[in-house]
Symmetry: C2
């Protein structure tokens, strides 16, 4: 595995590899890698000739400087984790990715306005800025994203569509801890006590899924809200049942072919998100 | 020469050619090609293994629907003109370049606010949108632009810098008609009578250049303004002497290493621009 730090050498190296074997898989990450990331990388390895992984804590997708500062970083561990699966690990500096603070703005309508968009203004613009730049550099055939960040996935699919990019977006099921907590780099910011109740998120979503025979989507989202409001460790930001394609909130089952329940909660000053397919 | 209409086949075709001979030159145009364009294409041919030319009348860089509608188009003639010099001619439809109306916004500070920016709001955002998309598709080593569009050149250099793109921007001297009029697709919109006085633009700029021994930059720009205000066929939008790198207006010679005089005028309902290096 080659570790590369500049955009120009990345392009050179990929072009060199591509001469022999064209199919390229790409896994963009912010580091602090866990088994969820590893699942993306292993899938990429199975499906492609070349595997490129990037580690870049993208400042422009953070809403708060404090959040950026506290975001976990562990480059040595990351390198050890991926070195048997990747051909190229791209670890650019901020100055390399953004010679000037990025000025471009992307707009995605409801896809960005709903859910995360209400609580993290500018977040998806920051995601689109970095993903577009990375896609342009790597020009992958397939790019891999976890389903935990469900709204991000919708944004990235729209981005690829809008730019007519020749990239397949593959979403991979969320990898969970034994107790069901969705793997996330932010989990390591939880205190032991907070960690011990964190599985309540996934348990609540699983129960919500089982309610679909007796309650309509609007009632289920209210039910989820009540569960979190009744638990003293959690502060709920949103719990919504949405159309899995358009992210429009749905009240009735006939309003969408696929419906997903999405939640964002605060637990011990750590913001966690998760989701479950309801229909 | 292959004529290609879709983004995906463009990428495939370029990758195929690149396997044998990597160095790629790119000339993006809006068609209605003239000798100025041909000069860019011939230079690209001399300096590269592969030459890609694009013809796309980019709707998002037009300020007025009327201007877009009247923009000259002559694809058969364009194809005949370039077919001996290009390997690939890319002629996408609007739906191909923009599956959804482009939502992204680029910002360039003073570079976009001055001169053209005052009279064509959104124009350079539209230019950046299409140039960025074309650069991402073609991934050229060198891209060629005419110096007539001096401000556009500064914008594109900034774009390449901001994205750390591995592209050299080569600017080529303006090609002129025998009487000095800068070649432009818009020239063919001039009535014979307007055409007969159009050389006044270049004559005025040449005289302005000769004034540098007796007048300072501020005085020269006033002098140019007076010339156009005193000619009944022209309506002046701006005449400015600016720092060739930053595009800041200069009053004194010591304010910039290189100074260029830029003008935009209306002649017979056609908007024409030109410029000359003063220092």
């Amino acid at each position: 595995m080659k570790i590369i730090h500049t955009c120009h050498s990345l392009i050179e190296e990929i072009n060199k590899l591509r001469e022999q074997s064209p199919q390229t898989g790409f896994v963009p990450t912010m580091g602090a890698l866990h088994n969820g990331h590893l699942q993306l990388i292993k899938t990429a390895r199975e499906e492609n000739d070349i595997v490129v992984c990037s580690i870049f804590v993208n400042p422009v997708q953070f809403n708060s400087a404090l959040d950026l500062e506290h975001y976990p970083r562990n480059p040595e561990n990351d390198i050890a984790l991926v070195k048997n699966y990747c051909d190229i690990l791209f670890m650019p500096s901020v100055a390399e990715m953004y010679p000037r603070p990025p000025q471009e703005e992307y707009h995605f309508g409801l896809l960005e306005a709903t859910m995360e968009g209400q609580y993290r203004p500018g977040h998806f613009n920051g995601v689109a800025i970095v993903v577009k730049r990375l896609f342009d550099l790597v020009q992958p055939d397939i790019a891999y994203f976890g389903r935990k960040d469900f709204q991000q996935l919708a944004i990235i699919k729209q981005l690829v569509h809008d730019y007519n990019m020749k990239i397949t977006i593959r979403s991979i099921d969320t990898v969970r801890e034994d107790d069901g907590l969705a793997m996330s780099s932010r989990n390591r910011l939880l205190s032991p006590q907070a960690r011990s109740v964190a599985s309540f998120i996934w348990q609540t979503l699983c129960k919500a899924q089982l309610l679909k025979k007796e309650k309509n989507p609007r009632e289920i989202s209210h039910w989820i809200q009540e569960q979190f409001n009744g638990h003293k460790s959690f502060s709920l930001e949103y719990a919504q049942l949405v159309n899995a394609e358009t992210l429009e909130e749905v009240n009735e089952y006939n309003q969408a072919e696929n419906i997903v329940a999405c939640v964002a909660v605060w637990l011990d000053k750590v913001r966690l998100i998760d989701n479950i397919m309801i229909k």
